[in-house]
Subunit: 289 residues, 2 copies
């Protein structure tokens, strides 16, 4: 089965379990709204590619790691969109969860998606409990404090912010989780895969800053110009558009150079290039500058 | 070391890790505010007692299970107190997290505490990964959808609510987690311990409804009369004060009768009686009715 189909099947199965008989129906509907139809599924696609490059010895654990990653990503979007953060009305081209279901169900949907991620890992891990437990730890640390997504978001409530630390936590941590969890699901060490994830995350953040600064809301499927409007740190403000585009190219070269030696190394390099083309608005940016 | 000290040490260690170097300081302070000084630590105390009754063969795993439970409980209080839910200004006799730190950090503190709980389990579990993984699953299911705390809270956004299902999910699920996680930490089956947790949870909820209906805010350390003010289902509205007190006695008898045969059965019965005396405002209620 192609990676994309395996990832969607794993996410769908997790969602079906969370909506199980006896669940409060509106919260169940809010979970579905938050997760389907998905975005580019970039993080699980990277995770899957790394696991396959390492031989993918326990496919059910690979799929669980991918689903868990995406559920956490969706949870972070739901909470990020809340009125007390970005107050975003749209997400992926439709109303954000709090607009469609109200704020209480949006808070709960985010919480429940985080928990569904750990449920997925625990269920898939009985055959390889040590790998599953390490996946659990990697995901918890990528998402929580002191250096995960929550920490990154927390920096937005501080008066003095280190731009690099902020992006590393808010965006980079889940890309590091994507590469390291791919390796862990395949029974490999996580450490050699940290740099690849970190560099992809960095590239993604610069690309996102460029999109936020340059695109309009219709093309983006969510409000744009948010960073400037909210006075938040971003690469375009720091480096200008041309500087940010040059940084993108550097980072991507480094990402590909960092890939550890593994059976599927060549295909993985190719996948990173493809993902890069998809997430980086390079041609758009070059037209504009 | 007494149970209480082991539990506090494990919670303190988890908090210190979450606040680690490089964390955003205000979010770190919000976590500490949410967790310390603690309340009665009833759930981890029950979990510890069950693990000890089963021999407590891996004390570090028992302590991790207790800390994880309490972190989740604290997370649920932080999110419950948010303006979009209870809008509670006080908790444990001091300002609630969103009052002290603002709403964004309260949302993030709840999220980060959930994640810290799973980090604790993953770190403690390397020696007994299968037990740790089962603890992860038990905690995720007790907290998430379709039947955990989030589901319980989600029922408050529905127009038709089954009172028993609502209480089972919102309050009972974490007591079931307390007893079953105690057993799992000791390498035992969870199933025989479900009933004890369910009955303690039921008793606790009835006691809480009585306190909410009868006590004043100073004695309670948080706003009272919330259920009636918000039109929420509760046992006093359903049964009256005397009926609710009689139900308490019934439930407690059933809880003690349900305790499975185990090495520390007698001490465990005694502990349940002690906890019951602590959480049940029986003498207070008898003075009032």
């Amino acid at each position: 089965m192609p990676s994309r189909d395996r990832i969607e099947a794993a996410i769908g199965a997790a969602l079906t379990r969370a909506e199980g008989p006896g669940a409060p129906p509106r919260l169940a509907a809010a979970l579905r709204h938050a997760v389907l139809p998905g975005g580019a599924r970039i993080r699980p696609t990277i995770c899957h590619a790394v696991a396959r490059a390492c031989g993918d010895p326990v496919p059910s654990l690979t799929d669980a790691a991918c689903a868990a990653l995406e559920l956490i990503h969706c949870a972070s979007l739901v909470h990020d969109d809340l009125p007390c953060f970005d107050d975003a009305d749209m997400r992926r081209g439709k109303p954000s969860v709090h607009v469609a279901f109200g704020e209480p169900l949006a808070v709960l949907a985010g919480d429940a998606l985080i928990l569904a991620a750990f449920d997925v890992l625990s269920r898939a891990g009985e055959a390889e409990p040590l790998s599953a437990l390490r996946l659990t730890g990697a995901l918890a640390r990528a998402t929580g404090m002191p250096h995960g997504i929550c920490a990154g978001q927390g920096w937005e409530s501080e008066t003095e912010v280190d731009l690099a630390a902020y992006h590393r936590a808010k965006t980079g941590s889940l890309f590091v989780a994507a590469t390291t969890m791919g390796a862990l699901a395949a029974g490999e060490d996580a450490e050699p895969w940290v740099e690849l994830g970190a560099r992809i995350g960095e590239a993604f953040q610069v690309a996102d800053d460029l999109r936020d600064a340059l695109m309009d809301a219709d093309a983006l499927g969510k409000p744009c110009g948010q960073d400037a409007a909210l006075g938040r740190p971003n690469a375009v403000a720091e480096l200008g558009v041309e500087g940010a585009v040059a940084r993108l190219d550097d980072i991507l070269g480094g990402a590909i150079a960092s890939i550890p030696s593994c059976p599927g190394e060549a295909q993985l390099c190719e996948m990173v290039r493809r993902q890069a083309a998809q997430i980086m608005p390079v041609s758009l940016v070059r037209d504009l500058v």
